[in-house]
Symmetry: C2
Subunit: 310 residues, 2 copies
């Protein structure tokens, strides 16, 4: 029982969950969803991404979403930006926080934003500087931190170098991403051991995808190493267009179930997140990967067959 | 990196996976499946259950299955029996091993076999004795070892008492079951700590269900506590008729992925198990819960779109 007593769960469903969806989700559905997520006890929601609509058409309504949500006191609403242009658009809304991103491997970074890591660093530096100048805290994603679909297994030393460069830009937290969803608890242990030599544990969050079912065991290993911030997506929505075969993020409700059962506080209502997942499942029109959602639906159907309408 | 270097994976798909299936699976499909599973490197397959067909109609062909499979050298083919009558039927085939079962909670045991725990113990004792007399090793399942759908959270002390009674009968291994799939790594740690005070670690196997996504994190915790035998089901098939909302067993291929990535040997081919899952998915006609199977299908579909037929 060697894990944090409180964990911050950062909801990335409206951004990472939806960015890859082929079905067009109307802006009002997105804002409705975010507004309901705001009532679940979440303290951090990444609501959209200010990238060029050519690249992520699913989030072309970024500005409308950011302007239309009902902002609730105490919640940080963040948005992803690739560069200064994205930042400028984001700053025209009142998002509270800026997220920047970078791959730990050159090929994935090029496929993602058409630039090498070396070319990306000064762009991110400038973006982070301007965001901080505008009083917006900056968070950074390090993608393909474990495996790159083009380059194979990622060297933890590359993750460390990029992480340190990002921290030097004034980033307050790094989200270390298993983009394809191949990491195992062993690799999480090895990579985190390497990072923790130079980076304080409270600067690190983990961002797992559940492609092969390892999102929660990886979370357990990270918890055992002291990590207390995790990204997840309501319903387990998600994927990456430049990571073939990658499936959804850790489902928020599955993460919450495990954390709460382990006596770890999050302040978030599992039931409210499940109801939000149910809502999005109906909107998207296909079943979402979340296990807790399936268990909930199973229980509901059993109860109604018995005539018990609880 | 404090876990066993080798793990025994016991395939329970043909029994635990199929017992709850509403769609009738023809005997030849079952035996085909078992024969292919025999080629994957598995060393232990639970092939069927000799219970009254009134209770488990899906396995009414137990004798035919047991007699028709192609037995492969080095593989233990086991069958579940509830009592002496079941044992007699099993002994008319040439299964190698007998599995008996018992709930850790009275209400579940009654719902399952219409008898209290106290009434069941002498029946199991006699069954185990006769199996051992017939040179069949006996394995025992302890169901609802973490949670009972009727009684709530299970007291680890009850699990210990029942486990010890079963060991006294000559059972060589206990399979500690999270029947409903509600356990968390914390509860696994607490229950195992309690059991390990009195029971040697090599007498324990774990049997998880993935109802809320905790099968693999629970496995990781059990590995960290030295457990080196796990039950799982190809494709993640499974459930329990007397545990509402319970979903499939740990998917064998997901378990293998995690174990192999952690450097733990099993001797089993992940790819062969995935192909077996694909086969059963087609036969059952609904998508199975396994994550690795989904990732495999995603990869195949991406490759074929690219015209790459690898």
């Amino acid at each position: 029982m060697n894990w944090p007593t409180h964990v911050t769960v950062k909801e990335v469903g409206p951004r990472d969950g939806l960015q890859n969806e082929k079905k067009l989700i109307p802006t009002t559905v997105k804002t409705n969803w975010i507004d309901h997520l705001s009532e679940s006890g979440l303290r951090h929601i990444e609501i959209t991404s200010f990238v060029h609509p050519k690249w992520v058409p699913a989030l072309a309504d970024a500005k409308d979403v950011a302007k239309s949500i009902q902002r609730r006191e105490g919640i940080v609403y963040s948005a992803l930006v690739p560069n200064q242009k994205g930042l400028e658009a984001a700053l025209e809304t009142n998002v509270d926080e800026i997220a920047i991103f970078m791959s730990a491997t050159d090929t994935h970074n090029k496929k993602n934003i058409n630039k090498s890591i070396v070319e990306t660093l000064p762009i991110l530096r400038q973006t982070a500087e301007e965001a901080i100048k505008a009083n917006k805290p900056v968070r950074a994603y390090v993608s393909t931190a474990f495996f790159c679909p083009y380059e194979g297994r990622t060297n933890p030393e590359n993750v460390r170098k990029i992480s340190e460069s990002l921290l030097e830009m004034g980033v307050y937290e790094l989200s270390i991403g298993d983009t394809v969803g191949t990491a195992s608890p062993l690799q999480v242990e090895e990579t985190l051991k390497h990072l923790l030599k130079n980076i304080p544990v409270n600067k690190l969050a983990m961002h797992f995808h559940d492609t092969r079912g390892t999102a929660l065991p990886n979370t357990l290993k990270a918890l055992e190493m002291g990590i207390a911030a995790f990204d997840s997506s309501c319903g387990g929505l998600g994927g990456c267009p430049y990571a073939p075969g990658a499936s959804g993020n850790t489902a928020t409700e599955d993460l919450l179930y495990m954390l709460h059962q382990m006596g770890i506080e999050t302040g978030i209502s599992e039931e409210k997140i499940i109801k939000n997942a149910l809502f999005m499942e109906t909107q998207i029109g296909k079943s979402l990967p979340s296990k807790s959602l399936k268990a909930y639906k199973g229980r509901i159907s059993t109860l109604s067959k018995k005539g018990d309408k609880r």
